[in-house]
């Protein structure tokens, strides 16, 4: 008798649960969903993605972020694997000419309608818009921007040699470096890994002649490649290499942060994300002086690095809704403050209000610089961070540059010759 009772109750309970479960399971299928692949698994970038995810879920979506630990190559591996397997993510982090290259291998979403509705194109710098619509249609949305040609000077080191403001030209820079060297300070606090080496060279060229930079890197113009400005850039780069710590090979610049702050190392030529690293390391803004890197012609120059979300076509309606929702959030005015206050980057929209407390002065100055440079057509794309050319061409050039930096037996003339040969090989 008892058994009967329990049996029926159990049956009822089971049925109720099944009903409830089925109901619950039905719900997520209609919510906008998005799967995102990026390389931002930890640190401040990871935290920023978490914040974005929270906003996405608050607006009713289901957020699934699958970061790939490692660097960009591992992330691209994963993306490639997913695409071959027929299951691309709804959104993936990509940048520069890679957006154009990857868009040819699998269908992407046309965002023109959404962009127009949001009036987005007018508030985004032209260079970024160009990258996002390689074939004339918007297929990617910029997330954040960084300025590569930024100069940081350690306050302690600056005080030791009597420097109070940033050098405006390379000549002034070299003078300061000479003073630091004489005082026993290592003038350059850069690291020695591939992209850092490429960056030193590109910041040099950017400051020497923005036009030469643009011609050479965007058009791979042979005459400019063999010209005087490029040679001058190699010479400046050789000076930078000589002024660095001899043990920089394979070291990331972040390992030198403590010495930089102590005043044992003087100047860092780095993208402005370094400010974020300093902040997370517990250092104050007063510990360093920051501003644009030297520019010989005295005019404003902005060497741009940025990340974008690219949207892959998915047949399921919940993904399509999810992509629309994500696009709306990313294009919105609040996205810049949300994301960039955490990562220390520059919001993409030139009309963003940066007076909020979460932003620091360096971000404000850089953002202002970006707006101005955009208006004056003085924005160029970074070589070392894969913005100016595809990975193939960039890597070939950086091969030459990294060998040049670490081997002072290679003369600037020889370096230039090798660069010309490398570009010819991959053209």
């Amino acid at each position: 008798m008892q058994r009967h009772h329990v049996g029926r109750r159990a049956l009822l309970a089971g049925a109720a649960v099944t009903f409830a479960v089925r109901r619950l399971r039905a719900q997520p299928a209609s919510k906008p969903r998005v799967t995102v692949i990026s390389q931002w698994s930890s640190g401040s970038s990871g935290a920023a993605m978490m914040a974005l995810g929270k906003v996405f879920e608050q607006q009713g979506g289901v957020w699934e972020h699958n970061p790939v630990p490692g660097f960009t190559t591992e992330m691209m591996n994963k993306l490639r694997a997913q695409i071959i397997a027929g299951d691309p993510p709804a959104a993936s982090q990509l940048k520069g000419p890679e957006i154009a290259a990857w868009s040819k291998i699998a269908p992407v979403v046309d965002l023109d309608a959404m962009v127009q509705q949001a009036g987005y194109e007018t508030v985004v710098p032209a260079e970024l818009a160009k990258l996002s619509k390689p074939h004339g249609h918007w297929i990617a949305l910029p997330i954040q921007a960084y300025r590569i040609n930024t100069l940081f000077i350690s306050k302690k080191a600056a005080d030791q040699v009597g420097v109070t403001k940033l050098p405006a030209t390379w000549a002034e820079f070299n003078a300061i470096a000479g003073k630091m060297k004489a005082a026993g300070i290592t003038p350059i606090a850069n690291g020695g890994i591939r992209w850092d080496d490429g960056m030193k060279w590109e910041i040099a060229l950017c400051g020497i002649s923005l036009d030469a930079y643009r011609k050479m890197l965007t058009e791979l113009d042979e005459k400019t490649l063999k010209g005087a400005e490029v040679l001058a850039a190699f010479r400046q780069c050789r000076k930078l290499a000589d002024w660095s710590d001899p043990g920089i090979a394979s070291q990331d610049y972040t390992t030198f942060v403590p010495r930089f702050m102590k005043g044992e190392m003087g100047m860092l030529l780095m993208g402005d994300w370094a400010a974020g690293i300093y902040k997370r390391g517990g250092f104050k803004v007063s510990d360093y002086i920051v501003g644009p890197a030297p520019a010989d012609d005295g005019k404003i120059a902005f060497d741009l690095n940025s990340d974008e979300f690219m949207f892959w076509q998915k047949p399921q309606p919940e993904f399509q809704e999810g992509q629309k929702l994500l696009a709306k959030i990313v294009m919105g005015k609040e996205f810049g403050p949300l994301f960039c206050q955490i990562t220390g980057s520059i919001p993409v929209r030139t009309d963003t209000d940066l007076s909020a407390e979460g932003f620091n002065d360096q971000q404000r100055e850089a953002s202002h610089s970006m707006g101005e440079a955009a208006r004056a057509n003085r924005v160029v794309l970074s070589l070392a961070h894969n913005m100016a050319q595809t990975n193939q061409i960039t890597a070939a050039m950086i091969d030459v540059l990294t060998e040049f930096v670490h081997d002072n037996r290679i003369t600037p003339e020889e370096g230039q010759k090798r660069l010309v040969a490398a570009v010819d090989n991959v053209r």
Partner: protein, 284 residues
């Protein structure tokens, strides 16, 4: 009764101790660093004594570190690795034993060539196998699953396990087999009754080898899994890839020790059997 050659005892011990130091230095450095704070290491160099014991490095890494949107530390990835490594090790060992048994005791035409091909698999660099595996897993509908990873490690491990087992089984006395066959025993009977009982030494060697190899494998683990299903190697890389943070030496060292604990324990307790297995004629 001295039946072995002897050298001067002092020289022997001195040399052994010197090399032991060389071998131990990295372990000691990592162990010390796991108890130091990151600032301390960044300022004072990688080799040094802790000023205060930062046990928080361990607890933070194990259960608190944030990877993607999960702030559960490396613990979930640890168990993911276990879920992947244990089945892969067991299955690849068993299949390797069967393969080795087939190739060594059941000769057929071309078996040397077949063995040669399988041994070649040991030399293939993993980079060139990545895209083909993507294609294979896609066609088998196993992409992005732990089963897919297990399959990859089984198939790749077969090259090693077959190599080990086959070289071991060739030394099984032919008389035993002949007698069994006269008695009417077939393939399975002989395996079960004769070969398997003789196998523990080589099986232990193979299990240790496979466990370590699969546990420490990085490239496939990262590419063929995602999010919270990734193995521990992915979590280690997340800790050390310096994208937006200065290097976290202290936490990294603690994570390294935690991640290496299973394999270290395997060699600590199984080292004796590893050696015994090799001594029992594993290699010819």
């Amino acid at each position: 009764m001295p039946s072995r050659v002897t050298l001067s005892r002092v020289a022997i011990h001195a040399t052994l101790i010197a090399f032991a130091a060389f071998f131990l230095v990295p372990l000691v450095v990592v162990a010390l660093n796991s108890l130091r704070s990151t600032e301390d290491i960044a300022h004072g160099g990688v080799i040094g004594l802790p000023h205060e014991l930062m046990w928080s490095n361990f607890s933070g890494t194990w259960s608190g570190y944030c990877i993607a949107q999960h702030c559960d530390g490396i613990q979930p990835y640890f168990w993911n690795s276990m879920r992947m490594v244990i089945p892969a090790t067991i299955i690849s060992t068993l299949l390797g034993a069967l393969n080795g048994y087939s190739l060594s005791l059941w000769r057929f035409r071309g078996d040397t060539i077949v063995f040669g091909i399988m041994t070649l698999g040991v030399f293939l660099p993993e980079q060139m196998r990545l895209v083909p595996w993507v294609i294979v897993l896609r066609d088998l509908n196993l992409f992005n699953t732990i089963s897919g990873l297990v399959l990859i490690h089984i198939v790749q491990g077969l090259s090693f396990t077959t190599l080990f087992c086959r070289n071991y089984y060739v030394s099984v006395p032919q008389d035993l087999l002949k007698a069994a066959r006269i008695d009417g025993a077939g393939y399975f009977r002989i395996f079960w009754r004769i070969v398997l009982p003789l196998s523990p030494p080589i099986l232990i060697v193979t299990v240790i080898w496979q466990f370590t190899g699969i546990w420490n494998e990085y490239l496939y683990g990262v590419t063929f899994s995602s999010g919270e299903h990734q193995p521990i190697t992915a979590a280690l890389i997340a800790l050390s890839a310096r994208l937006s943070d200065a290097p976290q030496y202290g936490e990294q060292s603690a994570a390294v020790l935690l991640a290496a604990a299973p394999t270290l324990l395997v060699y600590l307790f199984g080292g004796r059997y590893f050696l015994r297995g090799l001594t029992a004629g594993a290699v010819k």
